[in-house]
Amino acid sequence: MINVLATLSLWELIQRGWDVLLRDYHWFITKPLEIALLQRSLEAAILVGVLSGVVGSLVVVRGMSFFADALSHSILPGVAIMYQRSRAGDVPDIPGVRDANPLLWGALGAGIVSTFLIGFLTRHERLRSDTAIGIVFAGMFALGIAMVSRVESYAGDLTHILFGQILGIGPQDLNIIIGFSMVVLLVVIIFYKEFMLISFDPLLAKTLRLPTEFFRYLLLLLIATTIVVSLQIVGISLMLALLITPAATASLITHRLHWMMILAALMGSASSIIGFYASYHLDVATGPAIVLVATGMFGVVFLEQTLQNQVRWGLYRLRQTQETSPTNT
């Protein structure tokens, strides 16, 4: 009886909340979008959510989360170089670089350099891969901080790089994010079965004479590109959460790779949308808000599954005792 009452009042609560939402729909949902800057940020956040969900699934199944974390930190020197040059008004006169945020291109360059450096160091297994990743990661990150520290007032700018600055996204940036996202998604779709094979059984891939090294570097490049594109949304230090958390949540729900990618993309973009509105209404930084929503989703799914298992186990035990008790008496 108490349970019924509790569900009723909960239901009323939801209804009342829904009424408020409908009445204040304009204030809640559409008003933030009237500002072009915010609309752009939301679009970028959704795209990045989809992209990091798809690429993050590959990162999760291959157990590459340390590599992804390291790579996101290693792009700092590239960002720092372009940052100094843009402050000095000395931006390379290349179409696309000139108009857009030059930091993006610096990040991409540094990401590619770090990728090949780690790939080169781990070749022939002279070093354990996590050792090689650690060395490159710490070295590049230190180089980046040293470079940024030469600029006055660097503390504020460093914060933006480390934790993201979604409001800094210009129209050109959005175009670049759209372009890169499309390319990365297309590559994943085209080479889906090859990526799956190489992730699950590299030995079979080699016996089938697939160019495994090529696909390994291609995947590293896709991860680097995803990180660079997501840089402005969540920043360097929270990048890992965007890649790992939605994919991990999806992996709890499904056991097929393509569903995992689709679900992770949905959950990533949902986290972006919810996190965006939460950050607007609660006046929280956008990057952390998105990551917190994604983490919350993971927590809910994990708890739900644990409870489900408990209930299933309980029912099983109950059935066992019911089956055995008549024979005992």
Binding site: F191, K193, M196, T207, S251, R256, L257
Partner: protein, 291 residues
């Protein structure tokens, strides 16, 4: 386990045995004029740097034959398999598959890796895993076609796993997991199936289950080469035995080569063998208890 009776007392030839390691010329090779061997390994040596992995391995297997590779841990069984499937470069010697040079036909050899080296939590079901072996047949930029789906279905039906095709691979039993990998080799249309320790960590019923599938493969003329620790099984269920410990000790029909002399040389005297009339009885295996 120390035997009560020393092996020399049971087999006097063990005590006086002092021949050099068998040379290739003296091996009992099956000579067949009309059938091409499914796989022919000629004087194969594989080295890691200067360290030999396996040396002077020389044998051939015919379609439908089932061969056991036995030897202690570190004898180079996995090395041999990896070289046969093209994962390790050959230092010297050659391998031909179905009469062709192996460079063009390595994919006709299928390798089932050791159980521990597979990520069983990977988000893939039985169907996905078997379809993976069709990657080369499907080709780049293409989705699986009807022929590929049919091949996967046939393979799964042969190993009686079709009804479990939607299962995630981690939710399968030990015997079922091995059957999925056998189905994968079938879908690959492999002529030779190499299985690395398929019976490690499975119970007796799963072992019988896998053996049943291997019998089906024999009818399909697939050559099966299995590395195993289970000597009792090796004595009963295989046509031929390859004994190796870095070098090749013996190769030939089980009845001819599976004897105390060869076993003792393979396992370096740590193994003690009793042989009561017909069924082989193998007892005490010190070298394997250390690992």
């Amino acid at each position: 386990m120390k035997p009560a009776i020393a092996p020399e007392e049971v087999y006097p030839e063990l005590a006086v045995y002092s021949d050099p390691i068998t040379t290739i010329e003296s091996l009992p090779m099956v000579v067949s004029e009309d059938v091409t061997p499914a796989i022919e390994v000629v004087n194969l040596t594989v080295r890691y740097g200067q360290v030999p992995g396996c040396e002077a391995i020389h044998f051939s297997a015919f379609p439908g034959e089932r061969i056991a590779v036995i030897g202690p841990n570190g004898a180079g069984k996995s090395t041999l398999f990896k070289a046969m499937v093209g994962l390790l470069p050959m230092y010297s010697g050659s391998i031909s598959v179905g009469g062709e040079s192996c460079a063009a036909s390595h994919f006709r050899v299928s390798y089932v890796p050791q159980h521990e080296s597979v990520d069983w939590k990977f988000p893939a079901n039985v169907w996905d895993v078997v379809m993976m072996s069709r990657t080369r047949h499907i080709g780049y930029f293409r989705a699986p076609r009807k022929a590929d789906r049919q091949a996967v279905r046939d393979a799964l039906e042969k190993v009686e796993m079709w009804h479990l095709r939607h299962r995630q691979i981690g939710q399968l039993s030990g015997g079922q997991r091995r059957r999925v990998f056998i189905a994968r080799a079938l879908a690959q249309k492999a002529a030779v199936l190499l299985m690395d320790e398929p019976f490690a960590g499975v119970d007796a019923s799963a072992e019988a289950e896998i053996m049943g599938v291997l019998d089906t493969l024999r009818e399909l003329k697939v050559t099966i080469i299995v590395s195993t620790h289970n000597l009792g099984q090796a004595a009963h269920h295989y046509d031929k035995v390859l004994m190796m410990n870095r070098q090749q000790i013996a190769f030939g029909p089980t009845a001819e080569v599976f004897n105390a002399k060869n076993l003792s040389r393979t396992f370096g005297g740590f193994l003690t063998v009793w042989q009561d009339q017909s069924p082989y009885t193998v007892i005490a295996d010190d070298s394997c208890h250390e690992c």
